[in-house]
Amino acid sequence: MTVLAQHGHQPTDKITRGLKENVISGVIFSARCASPEKARTLISEARLVGADAEILLDPEFYATRLIGTPNCQLGNLEGWPYFRAQRRRDLVKTEAVERVLKSAREAVSGFDVSAHIAPNVYIPQSFDSMEAGIALNFIEQTKPIFAGSRKLVYATLAVDRRALLSPEDFRSFLNDLTGLENPPDGFYVLIGGGPLAERSDLAQSEVMDANVIGGWMLLNFILSLNGFRVVNGFTDVLTPFLAAAGGQACSTGWWSNLRVFSMGRYVKPESGGGQLPTIRYLSKLLLNHIKITERYDYGVLVPGIVNRLSYDGVYDNGSPGRTEEALQMWEALTSLTQEAVSGNVENDLAALRERVTQAGVAYTQLRSYGVTAGYEITTEYLDQLDGAIDAFKRLAEL
């Protein structure tokens, strides 16, 4: 399992340093954050640093559904030739789907990516929907259209969390997906669920739900079982869970909106921005991002909260910069995943459950020392992670 960087605004030197310092194995560039020319340059630069790195480009075609909506923020997307508003009733026709795929293929032809990510629509609510049918059509046409590129091609599967909560429709969709006659080489999976509060992390997002995570794990399990490479976007601390279920790559970025996927990222926030978020530290023991002050205070009470990995030094010596914050997060995620995931799904689930238990134990210890602020809210995500393992085991018939 590899950890990739999810590209976003203000990358500065995060990606190049991440590749140079081996805390990431690759990057998923964002078409929204780079024009076609800029993307070509970024990809070439990343390739220079990481000759064997997994370098991908998300075409973000799914965001076309927001074209023309008030306050949409589509960045460079409208400069990409395939990124044109399409009527849903047109996209049910295979010719329209083929046109989009061909346009995307031509736009990225010559890019030094490891594999192409093909465009697809967003499945907003249910797998029993017109969008789900259109998405399947995109997936079915992906391999034939990209066949001439001589690179692997991954289909995008961008789904709202709510779709995972309807078991019968989900089951049918998975049957159809794995029964396709000419499938792509892999899938780029995005599960959408908005953050519950501005700049909150995955732990406090709509995705942090046992059945959603269990369903996302099932998706990884089934796709990998059927021989597909699975690359997940915006995974944050779910990385080891998805890896245990069979996901081969997980991607996370430096801002909170690069750690949990939401279509809301394409809409300007009402508050209009403002102060930058607090720099945080990813504790492997707590499976969570904590503030720097919490790292110092909690680390004294429960030393295991501090990872003691190479980037801890930056935190020990004062306030790290944004780049170090990102590098620390990727290093911790890689270490966490390597420790918890061996490739034997049953053993890995048991190891992850133990990790969740140990996180709960650590919070309980903190509470015994009088750290009680927001205890229930803070630890709710652990219940969801624990429940996700049960949900996944049930769904995957393990």
């Binding site: 089951r171 049918s172 998975l174 049957n175 997906l177 794995t178 029964g179 089934i222 079982l225 059927n226 021989g227 995957a396 018939e397």
Partner: protein, 294 residues
């Protein structure tokens, strides 16, 4: 089974069939062994009930038999039974209407008989059976069909090392693109104990693909290897069995045959998953999985 023709009546109606012997009957079909020309063949005699007296129309029965014969004609593997020399014909026997045709006669024992006799195959035999069934299934998939009735009673074990097992009976085979949905009222599309969970759904045709056959292969292999069905219990009622097929996890083969290789047991267990997407996507995927196992 009053539709089974009297052997003397059949002999009178078809004097070219010599040495007739009754072999088996099921559904509307009876099988006789007979000499056709200089070959010993399995003569299949299918009863066609009068219109409106049965839930299957004459046209459907005729279409199903034609489909079976067409499918067998297209298949090229020794792991499937082959057609005999008697072409499909309509025949009246004892005042009733029948269809008649022949397949090769296979002198062997069904897996069902072997299981009932307490046979306990070793790893090599389970692997040979698995490869035979999967090669047969791969051929059925190649011609765009699914078998829908793979079960121990439809697999014959022969005493021929080059042809150890043969899959029979494409009687309810389904052509994935182009078969009309039959009007057959309410009957299950297969043999209940070996039917994949999705086939119990009223809209099963939407879910129908080769993975339903992969399930039946899995159950057949499991039962042959373990001597017991992975879900059904002896003597229980049909409703309980269906509940188990739909809801309960099957036994693990490794628990019953710990001496078999773990990879083989896991592969067979995976065929019996309730979700189609959790099974092997086609017979070749399972053949690949078994590669190198001895």
């Amino acid at each position: 089974m009053e539709y089974v023709p009297n052997i003397e009546d059949l002999g009178r109606a078809r004097p070219d069939l010599r040495g007739l012997e009754f072999v088996a009957a099921g559904g509307f079909k009876a099988v006789f062994k007979a000499s056709v020309g200089d070959r010993s063949e399995a003569v299949k005699v299918i009863y066609i009930p009068p219109e409106a007296e049965e839930d299957s129309s004459r046209e459907e029965i005729v279409a199903r038999v034609k489909r079976e014969i067409d499918a067998l004609r297209l298949c090229r593997t020794k792991c499937l039974v082959s057609l005999g020399s008697l072409e499909l014909q309509a025949v009246a026997i004892g005042g009733r209407d029948y269809l008649i045709y022949s397949e090769e006669f296979l002198a062997g024992t069904s897996l069902k008989s072997r299981i009932e006799g307490g046979h306990r195959p070793d790893t090599a035999e389970v692997l040979v059976l698995a490869r035979c069934l999967l090669k047969a299934l791969r051929e059925i998939e190649r011609i765009g069909h699914i078998h829908r009735d793979i079960k121990p009673a439809n697999v014959i074990a022969l005493a021929a090392p080059r042809r150890p097992f043969v899959l029979l009976d494409l009687g309810i085979a389904f052509k994935l693109h182009g078969t009309e949905l039959t009007a057959r009222g309410g009957g299950p599309p297969g043999t209940l104990l070996y039917m994949a969970p999705e086939l119990f759904r009223p809209d099963y045709r939407d879910a129908l693909d080769i993975r339903s056959d992969v399930y039946s292969v899995g159950v057949t292999l499991f039962e042959y290897a373990a001597g017991v069905h992975p879900l059904a219990r002896r003597g229980e009622d049909v409703g309980t069995t269906i509940y188990r097929i739909l809801r309960q996890p099957p036994s693990k083969l490794r628990d019953l045959r710990p001496e078999l290789p773990e990879r083989l047991c896991q592969a067979i267990d995976r065929c019996i998953k309730k979700r189609q997407a959790l099974r092997y996507r086609n017979p070749q995927a399972l053949l690949d999985e078994l590669e190198g196992l001895t």
